[in-house]
């Protein structure tokens, strides 16, 4: 004790005690320590995502002349989008295809999630893993599998011909917007189950019993209690499918044919064969803004519709 008191006068120990004080202060301040721990992850996300996104916004106002970028502020790329209907058609088609796929996926997955949440009592974990397993296997291969199933010489055509049901291959199966919808629905089905299942599992069973005691039949109980309470899961699942599918370019390239091309195919082409990066950036941003507005409108509409429940 007395040693420390003597030393306290010298300047070196002053800095040492200051550092020690700062260190103990740092250890004690919960928020500081938390931020220090969080900062690498946050920094990575800002540098590798927010920064590139900002640069993309800037580039979208440039124009391409030959192999050079024409820097400065131009609205040419956006004007082009507004003037040429081809882009609008592609964007609209992408939205329609994704919306159809989202709707089909949620509709198909809901009963499945309901079944596991309410009617499976043994091996629940096994069921959940079994349902979500295909989602984690190669996306490309799942799309490729549909090419085999729907193709001109594919499973359905050759199977039906072997059985003698048809004598000409059905050409409409592959290379159309509907084949994109079917393929995407299958590819994302396993993903939609989890959020819906989680929200169904959370529902307090006594609420359902109360509804029955008060005279509700199964249908009224479902639409009055179960469905509204599981809506957060349905909304989450819809967005988790809608957002990535609008920006998908592999599926349309593989099973879409010329009529099934989507906006992402054109964007990808701007960074590949067409080599017009500013236009690609502008198209990508337009797509992003459209997706975000549609998603927000969807959330707002569903919230409004069910406002009375929650």
């Amino acid at each position: 004790m007395s040693d420390r008191g003597l030393e306290a006068g010298t300047p070196q120990t002053h800095t040492r005690t200051l550092r020690a004080w700062l260190y103990s202060r740092f250890l004690r301040s919960e928020a500081l320590r938390g931020f220090a721990l969080l900062s690498p992850t946050l920094l990575l996300m800002i540098c590798a995502m927010c920064l590139p996104f900002g640069i993309m916004v800037v580039i979208s106002f440039w124009t391409q002349t030959g192999f050079e970028f024409n820097q400065g502020f131009h609205l040419d790329n956006y004007a082009e989008f507004a003037e040429r209907p081809a882009y609008r058609v592609l964007l609209l088609r992408s939205l329609v295809i994704s919306a159809a796929c989202t709707f089909a996926t949620v509709l198909l997955s809901y009963p499945m999630a309901y079944y596991v949440a309410f009617h499976v009592h043994k091996h629940k974990m096994a069921w959940l893993i079994l349902m979500t397993l295909p989602f984690w296997t190669s996306y490309l291969l799942r799309i490729f599998a549909w090419k085999i199933v729907l193709g001109f010489n594919g499973v359905i055509n050759s199977g039906l011909m072997t059985l003698g049901v048809i004598d000409q291959p059905l050409e409409f199966l592959l290379y159309s917007p509907s084949s994109v919808v079917v393929t995407l629905t299958h590819a994302w089905a396993a993903f939609a189950i989890l959020p819906i299942y989680v929200s169904l599992e959370k529902i307090d069973r006594s609420l359902l019993e109360a509804a029955t005691d008060l005279g509700d039949g199964p249908a009224k109980r479902f639409f009055g209690v179960t469905l509204p309470l599981s809506l957060p899961g349905v909304i989450a699942a819809s967005l988790m499918i809608f957002i990535p599918t609008v920006g998908d370019f592999v599926t349309p390239a593989m099973v879409g044919g010329p009529d099934g091309l989507m906006i992402a195919n054109i964007i990808q082409a701007q960074f590949g064969v067409v080599n017009n990066w500013p236009r690609g950036a502008a198209l990508a941003l337009t797509m992003m803004v459209t997706i975000t507005s549609v998603s927000l409108a969807y959330i707002w509409a569903t919230r409004r519709l069910t406002g009375r429940v929650s």
């Binding site: 992850t41 995502m49 959940l128 984690w136 490309l140 799942r142 050759s158 998908d248």
Partner: protein
């Protein structure tokens, strides 16, 4: 006496639906292994006969092995780095009550709600402006970005079910924070870390869109497969490769999901 409420009673219609749903889910994928053993380059019925010659051809396909090795390298690097960042993030978010935590977590989780093509294109522009060449490193960077949210989402529940008093006990008994982390915290979250590593590896291994935009001359396995699809004569090789990939990823994902859920069940059993 009846433990099951009438709400939870077995439902035959739903059960039939559930089974047909699983058939829809697995059916198309199972054609890959089926035709990979078929003695014909066409994927059509009737089946011609059993053969393993496509597997022999595939195993001698040197570019395929190179692409597979690239994918493994990228996958392992992405998984380790993303899990490390996820670990820091998950720990910070669950252990401390941070001001402005919600918007911060929102930023970290953003890649989940941004289409892959946007992330790929934005990174491509940044990297080319900075003068970086496109290599497997750029692909890895893109994959780390999309894996971090998944790593965090896997690790947060593990940290949340965590009994703080165990760490406090360790500190009271004189262990410094570092020792406490390695001796107490780390073993408890280990199953979560393994699950996160496996999950991130599978995501990176399967990822196509970002890899397509950010790969240079060397490609990953999905890019190689995509290139092969243009040649009908290479189709059986793709079928064989697909069969093996699906079999292996089924096993890996099954283990990771099992670990994740078992970890959670352990905790609920303990408390």
């Amino acid at each position: 006496m009846n433990a099951l409420s009438y709400i939870d009673r077995p439902n035959r219609t739903l059960r039939v639906y559930a089974v047909s749903y699983l058939i829809f889910l697995y059916g198309p994928i199972l054609f890959l292994p089926l035709f990979s053993f078929n003695d014909s380059i066409y994927t059509a019925f009737p089946l011609k006969g059993f053969t393993t010659k496509w597997y022999d051809t595939m195993f001698n396909d040197a570019p395929m092995w190179a692409a597979l090795w690239n994918s493994v390298k990228v996958g392992i690097a992405s998984a380790c780095i993303a899990t490390f960042f996820g670990l820091l993030g998950a720990r910070a978010v669950t252990r401390y009550n941070l001001p402005g935590q919600k918007p911060i977590v929102f930023i970290i989780m953003l890649p989940l709600v941004i289409p892959g093509i946007i992330i790929g294109v934005a990174l491509l522009i940044l990297l080319s402006r900075l003068g970086f060449e496109l290599t497997l490193f750029t692909v890895t960077l893109g994959h780390i970005l999309i894996c971090v949210p998944f790593a965090m989402a896997t690790l947060i529940p593990r940290f949340e079910g965590f009994d703080k008093s165990m760490e406090e006990a360790s500190a009271d008994l004189g262990a410094n924070p570092w020792r406490t982390f390695w001796l107490v915290t780390f073993p408890i979250v280990l199953p979560g870390i393994i699950a996160s590593l496996l999950l991130c590896f599978t995501i990176s291994f399967d990822e196509f869109i970002i890899a397509f935009l950010l790969a240079g001359t060397e490609g990953t396995l999905p890019l190689y497969i995509y290139g092969q699809l243009r040649f009908p004569s290479r189709l059986p090789g793709v079928l064989c490769m697909g069969t093996i990939i699906i079999a292996v990823s089924f096993v890996v994902v099954f283990i990771s999901q099992w670990l994740k859920r078992r970890g959670l069940e352990d905790q609920t059993a303990r408390f």
